[in-house]
């Protein structure tokens, strides 16, 4: 079963999955990514490695994933369509599979205007949907876009993102259905703070039978402070932080806000575990990887199951 994604095996086996995000360093030191990911080892089933997130130049996601895999971890390779055309994307999918990377999350990517290279050309030759379809074609039909055959196929579990909090709500579910039709097998959602809206979204997805067709992992991000909550609410694209949550953070003395952030995160995970259509969680502890262990422990998600 060496070719099979461990994440997929776990989800297929009906286990509640735990993934976490790890951002590669702004540098060439392999130890930096190992150090960060090391904090996640044994606490999660797979580690998402972001692809130049917020359009800031970092160590390449493929390289960082390969480093993690060599260290015995299960990486989820995030790939955005912002920086590569279809030739480069397909080539990197083959390369990633050759390196033993078994999970790919296909994304549009944060717009280049947000990062430290705002003069860059945004490629967007494919959109995330078309990219998902291309990866599926390579794996299942053994062909690249346009129909030419591959000598061997990439072995990858295909993921996509969904933002239940963006507009328009009804169309969010249509878009989820399209991603599934294109080939997405698992979904990692945007950070959930507005549980009411998330429940509305997942019930719409359930009505269309989508929660049976795809594994949905609910995204969570522990808040470090009331200031971070406020920043995310007002400045970060696609983020939905309800007023009462912000008030809750603001009502706590500064030195105990981290603790409160973790408490909120654990409460969210416990609530997500109760939702039928949710098959796991995805923890995005931004530059706070050492919080993940405590969160999964308090959410009663330890020990993680062993998969061969």
């Amino acid at each position: 079963m060496k070719d099979e994604s461990k994440l997929k095996q776990l989800l297929d086996g009906g286990l509640f999955a735990v993934t976490a995000e790890c951002g590669p360093p702004k540098g060439a030191d392999p130890e930096a990514i190992l150090r960060k990911a090391g904090l996640l080892k044994g606490k999660v089933d797979a580690v998402n490695v972001t692809d130049n997130q917020t359009a800031i130049v970092r160590m390449s996601s493929i390289a960082a994933c390969a480093i993690l895999r060599n260290a015995g971890m299960e990486p989820v390779l995030q790939m955005v369509v912002r920086d590569r055309n279809r030739i480069a994307l397909q080539s990197d999918v083959l390369g990633a599979s050759a390196l033993g990377i078994r999970n790919i999350l296909c994304l549009s990517g944060d717009h280049q205007s947000f990062g430290n290279q705002p003069q860059a050309l945004g490629v967007f030759d494919l959109d995330s949907m078309q990219f998902i379809e291309a990866v599926r074609g390579m794996r299942d039909s053994g062909t690249i876009m346009g129909g030419e055959s591959l000598a061997s196929t990439p072995k990858v579990f295909i993921g996509a993102a969904a933002n239940p909090f963006a507009d328009p709500l009804d169309f969010r579910v249509v878009r989820l259905a399209k991603k599934i039709a294109a080939g997405a097998q698992f979904i990692q959602t945007q950070c959930i703070y507005n549980m009411e809206r998330f429940k509305k979204w997942i019930s719409l997805a359930e009505d269309r039978g989508l929660t049976e067709k795809v594994y949905i992992l609910g995204g969570v991000t522990p808040l470090k402070s009331a200031a971070m909550a406020k920043y995310m609410k007002n400045k970060v694209a696609g983020m939905d932080i309800p007023d009462d949550l912000l008030k809750r953070m603001e009502g706590i003395p500064k030195e105990r806000q981290r603790e409160e952030g973790i408490r909120i995160c654990v409460e969210t995970i416990l609530a997500l575990k109760e939702i039928k259509g949710v098959k796991g969680i995805h923890i995005m502890a931004i530059e706070w990887e050492d919080a993940v262990g405590e969160i999964v422990e308090r959410a009663k998600l330890l020990p993680r199951p062993k998969v061969d």
């Binding site: 549009s108 030759d125 949907m129 909090f165 507009d167 694209a237 696609g238």
Partner: protein, 222 residues
């Protein structure tokens, strides 16, 4: 139309600095509509350059003229017999105009005074917006008359992305989310089901796959 904006006067002055006799050449078409290079703007720029030359005690003859279209040979050849007396032409045509004039008067320096921007519309007085990327394979039917390549910041053909909020784009709240517009339009004209299927990847060979494009119409040739 093709939209453009005038370059900063400093940049223009640097480019024309070596020349003592200059023709400032306007264009009466698109760039007149977007108030960048029509007769009026040409007169204003020429006068500003004359004044700057005078203040800096530079000896320069700067004259102006506007033709109807700088991108059409029949109009450009009207300059025959007068253009030769100048050392350089400062063109307020779009990029196509500058190059067309340069092609016909091949030993004359033709200097661009404008930055050519995009294919767009005059939305309001003093407001022009981008609508079209000239992809060579119009998809507006499928998207209810709103082009996602020109108007979605990420050129998504299967949008909207997770950054669409209250009908605005995550890149800049000043930008309307093209996908919200597409959904609203298709909803009104009863075409929402067009968005249920995955729209396939764009065939960019129609735009740039074979190098610079041309249109050949034998029925139009003399």
């Amino acid at each position: 139309m093709i939209t453009a904006e005038q370059k900063p006067i400093k940049e223009i002055r640097e480019m024309i600095a070596p020349y003592r006799k200059i023709l400032v050449l306007g264009c009466g078409s698109c760039v007149a509509e977007c108030a960048a290079g029509g007769e009026k703007e040409t007169a204003m720029l020429a006068s500003a350059l004359r004044m700057a030359a005078k203040m800096n005690k530079e000896e320069a003859v700067i004259e102006e003229r506007t033709i109807d279209r700088q991108c059409v040979r029949d109009f450009i050849v009207q300059l025959d017999g007068t253009i030769e007396s100048y050392e350089a032409v400062l063109s307020l045509g779009c990029g196509a105009g500058v190059q067309a004039v340069a092609e016909i008067f091949s030993d004359m320096p033709i200097i661009p005074a404008l930055n050519t921007e995009f294919l767009g519309q005059t939305k309001d007085q003093g407001l022009w917006t981008e609508n079209c990327v000239g992809c060579g394979d119009c998809m507006l039917y499928y998207f209810g008359g709103v082009c996602p390549l020109a108007r979605c910041s990420k050129q998504l053909m299967n949008g909207p992305c997770g950054g669409s909020r209250d009908g605005r784009c995550e890149v800049d709240p000043e930008i309307p989310c093209a996908w919200q517009l597409i959904i609203d339009r298709l909803n009104k004209i009863g075409g929402l089901e067009r968005l249920e299927k995955v729209y396939p990847a764009k065939d960019w060979s129609r735009k740039q796959g074979r190098g610079p494009r041309k249109i050949v119409r034998e029925d139009q040739q003399r």
